[in-house]
């Protein structure tokens, strides 16, 4: 079995996942009460004729399977329809919103890796010392701090009191966007750092107990060489997997961070679309999330293949 066949198979599974997920979400939206015309009416008084006209305009009265079938057919032609609320093509809405989310996810990930991996390695190296306990305590704090609370705290301290950073929006221009990204990225990274630090520490400890590390030590190799060449490389599998999961999750929508910092990304879009039952947009987001998860997982597995020759052998036979 070649790598190409492996990738193709994974993409096929991803496609299947997309169809299944979109069907379930469509079902959920269909059976949940409420309908988009109430959002369009904005609670204004109405007449049966007007409601009928609106429902006809958006094909809301078609039978369930017809609606879904139509969506699926169009989706295979990469036509995801138009938002009921804004009338924009869903693809346009998604491209507009994906940028800020992608930037946030990557910034959060960079922060996470830069801080969490060294911290986890350090804790493992110094296990059961006060340094290790300090790291453990901080990770406990980080993982239990609610994201929105951290966000509001950051906003208050660095946005309102110190006025170092803007308090809302995506910003314009590269530096503007970067400036707007700092606080949200930190808010997002706090929980992630805690999670990845723990993963790293655990993985490094496991590696540290392996015979080959003991053997390396007995050969008189330097501590730093052992850590870099043996511990870091061998513990990177679970770390890469964990960060991949985080990335996929964030790309699917860091709802709390985006809402707190008024970043108009995929997460806040999901919230708005579900609230207004904007079915084409929700379906588009599901497709986006399914594709993202598939691609990120594939990416993670490919990285793992590159790291671990044993896995490579398994795949290529």
């Amino acid at each position: 079995m070649s790598i190409a066949w492996y990738i193709l198979r994974r993409l096929g599974v991803g496609l299947l996942l997309l169809v299944i997920a979109s069907f379930f979400v469509f079902c959920l939206l269909y059976i949940s009460p409420g309908s988009p015309e109430q959002v369009l009416l904005g609670g204004r008084p109405s007449t049966p004729e007007i409601i009928g006209t609106i429902r006809a305009k958006y094909n809301l009265d078609d039978p369930f399977l017809v609606q879904y079938g139509q969506w699926l057919l169009d989706a295979f032609r990469l036509d995801f329809g138009e938002s009921i609320v804004t009338d924009q093509p869903v693809t346009t809405v998604l491209t507009d919103r994906a940028g800020p989310t992608l930037a946030l996810a990557l910034a959060g990930l960079v922060l996470t890796i830069v801080i969490a991996v060294p911290a986890g390695m350090y804790a493992a190296a110094k296990r059961n010392t006060s340094g290790d306990r300090m790291v453990s305590m901080l990770t406990l704090l980080g993982s239990s701090a609610p994201t929105f609370a951290v966000g509001v705290l950051l906003l208050y301290v660095f946005g309102v009191s110190l006025e170092w950073f803007p308090v809302f929006g995506n910003g314009t221009g590269f530096t503007g966007q970067l400036h707007h990204l700092v606080l949200p990225a930190i808010a997002l990274a706090v929980t992630q750092i805690a999670y990845v630090t723990r993963q790293t520490r655990a993985a490094a400890l496991r590696v540290y107990e392996q015979d080959y590390v003991t053997f390396a030590r007995s050969r008189g190799l330097g501590r730093s060489l052992i850590w870099r060449r043996y511990a870091l490389l061998n513990s990177s599998l679970p770390i890469v997997t964990a960060t991949g999961l985080l990335l996929a999750y964030t790309l699917g929508g860091a709802v709390l961070v985006e809402v707190t910092f008024s970043r108009e990304g995929v997460g806040s879009l999901m919230l708005q679309a579900v609230q207004s039952k904007d079915i084409p947009v929700v379906q588009g987001l599901v497709a986006f999330a399914a594709i993202t998860v598939t691609l990120v997982n594939l990416g993670v597995d490919l990285v793992n293949l590159a790291i671990d020759p044993r896995l490579r052998k398994e795949v290529t036979g």
């Binding site: 369009l40 006809a56 609320v85 804004t86 009338d87 946005g159 809302f168 929006g169």
Partner: protein, 560 residues
């Protein structure tokens, strides 16, 4: 009408608000005690009633332009189209109606310089001379006719079509004159002229029929501002329209930013990143009142928080049970604790100021006194319960409430406590807005409901028709109490068709009294309409609930 979310509470096109004197609160409290609301008026020289006054907290306006002014919004508006935007706080600045309101709620010229009702079913409008769209092209009669007909075009599916139920046709009857014919007499068509007659340029709209209202195809209008940048997601930047027919406003660049989270919005105000917002969460009033660089004006918004009881099915077909519950509502306590003193305890469902332009002081006071108040009194509640079919209580009432209406939970909690004394168990449950409305509009098992209602035009009919007409006691309509009788329908007929304005309004007043006496609808509080504004700025002139369409033109630099 009820509204779907905090978003729409402050932003519907005919959004009612007044920034008023704290004195008005006193005045209204006085009204509840039997005085006319205008007795304690703000003391303005021209003798206008207090309701039309600026809050004393807002300083006088100074001359000078404002280079940029940013408004924080809780949600985007969807399409940039006067008929299809989901909130109107942006679009009111870009489009004008044939008529508009003055601060008292009287109709005054807009794009039409004069109008006349020539028969029961014909209205003639004379357009202003020399009107131009923001691209400099002249506004033609055809543009006006096209724009009005969009309201009844199925391809547009305009929610404003509700005002066009009696509309038959609009034609050009002179070089600058249009004539509207109705299929039946509709005394309320005149209000539609100030709500649902926004004019856009026909040629552009036809050329962009497919994507009109998206950022690349914003309909061309006549208002004081045109968009220079627009994103449904993040907001808009508007600049002055040099072809505007009225006076040029002070703000040069009018910016809108979407800041969905209320706490982030408050911090954005405090940091100066936004200058104003219409989206002030009432349950957080205590916190918002303390923002040092911001003034918050609370005016009665014409909105009423209401309990309805389905009078056609048990247990609420028992008037004594309904009255017992009405007596157990601590309106004073709710106004003070839940709304932090920024709401008025309600008597009936229509705020008395709605009647101000129709009634003189004495008539208003007499009417308001005649509406049963159900002052909080647990003894009277027990007496009423004793006369009901449930003398020992033993009832369980289940009630959903709208998730976005966070104040509802607090209102229900206080009532729950009081009802326990009557051995009535009240349980309530939060529901997402779309689900809440879907359930409510199904019009089944209505029981007891908690909702709020805001008028779309300054006339009691907008309340009584939707809540009390027999024709509205059906799915997708608002008569949640199924309140109607032969007597009420007679009054409704007067309201719907009588050519005499005074007779119509008096019938409305009597209906409100009747529904309160029957305890079918029990008003809880007349809600304030809040506006938060940076202290550098002020709101100029008489600023009333009816002048929301001109809000941006009234923002000025505050005199220091």
């Amino acid at each position: 009408m009820t509204r779907t979310a905090t978003r729409s509470t402050r932003s519907t096109r005919t959004r009612l608000f007044r920034c008023l004197v704290p004195l008005l609160a006193v005045a209204l409290a006085g009204a509840c005690a039997g005085k006319s609301p205008s007795d304690d008026g703000g003391g303005d020289a021209d003798g206008a009633s207090s309701g039309n006054e600026l809050s004393a907290d807002f300083p006088a306006a100074a001359d000078g332009d404002i280079s940029s002014f940013t408004v924080g919004m809780a949600a985007g508006q969807g399409r940039y189209d006067p008929l299809l935007a989901t909130t109107s706080v942006i679009v009111v600045n870009s489009y004008d109606c044939l008529l508009t309101w003055n601060d008292k709620g009287e109709l005054v010229p807009g794009l039409a310089e004069s109008w006349e009702q020539t028969s029961d079913t014909t209205y003639v409008y004379q357009l202003r001379e020399g009107l131009k769209f923001w691209d400099g092209s002249p506004v033609t009669v055809d543009d006006v006719i096209f724009s009005m007909k969009r309201n009844v075009d199925p391809a547009v599916a305009s929610p404003y079509g509700v005002y066009y139920t009696a509309f038959q046709d609009v034609t050009s009857t002179g070089p600058n004159e249009i004539t509207v014919t109705l299929s039946r007499p509709d005394p309320y068509w005149r209000y539609a002229s100030a709500i649902a007659t926004t004019v856009i340029q026909q040629q552009f709209a036809v050329e962009h029929a497919e994507d009109l209202g998206t950022p690349g195809a914003i309909p061309i209008g006549t208002g004081p501002y045109l968009p220079s940048e627009y994103s449904p997601a993040t907001g808009a930047t508007l600049v002055r329209n040099e072809h505007y027919w009225g006076e040029q406003p002070a703000i040069e660049s009018l910016e809108f930013s979407v800041v969905p989270d209320p706490e982030s919005r408050r911090l954005a105000l405090e940091s100066g990143a936004i200058d104003a917002t219409w989206d002030v969460p009432l349950e957080q009033a205590r916190l918002w009142d303390q923002i040092p660089n911001v003034r918050i004006g609370y005016g009665p918004g014409g909105n009423t928080k209401i309990f309805s009881f389905d009078v056609t099915s048990p247990p609420f077909d028992d008037v004594h049970l309904r009255r017992a519950i009405a007596y157990a509502i601590d309106r004073e306590g709710i106004a003070n604790s839940v709304f932090n003193g920024h709401a008025e305890p309600a008597r009936g469902v229509v705020p008395p100021e709605i009647f101000e332009i129709f009634f003189d002081e004495q008539q208003l006071a007499d009417w308001y006194d005649s509406v049963p108040a159900y002052e909080f009194d647990m003894e009277k509640a027990k007496e009423e319960l004793a006369q009901s079919a449930y003398p020992d209580g033993g009832l369980t009432i289940e009630l959903p409430f709208q998730a976005s209406q966070t104040v509802d939970q607090d209102i229900l909690a206080t009532l729950q406590q009081n009802l326990r004394e009557l051995n009535i168990e009240l349980t309530y449950q939060s529901m997402p807005d779309t689900q809440y409305f879907a359930e409510l509009y199904r019009h089944e098992n209505l029981g007891m409901q908690l909702f709020y209602f805001g008028p779309t035009y300054p006339d009691p009919f907008t309340y009584t028709f939707y809540m009390m007409a027999e024709s509205q006691a059906v799915p997708n309509a608002f008569n949640f109490a199924n309140f109607h009788s032969d007597a009420s329908e007679e009054l409704m007929a007067v309201q719907e068709t009588d050519p005499d304005l005074q007779a119509r309004v008096e019938a409305g007043a009597e209906l409100v009294r009747m529904a309160a006496d029957d305890a079918a609808y029990v008003g809880i509080a007349f809600l304030p309409f809040p506006v938060a504004l940076n202290r550098e700025f002020t709101i100029d002139g008489d600023f009333s609930i009816w002048t929301f369409a001109n809000w941006a033109s009234r923002i000025r630099i505050a005199e220091s």
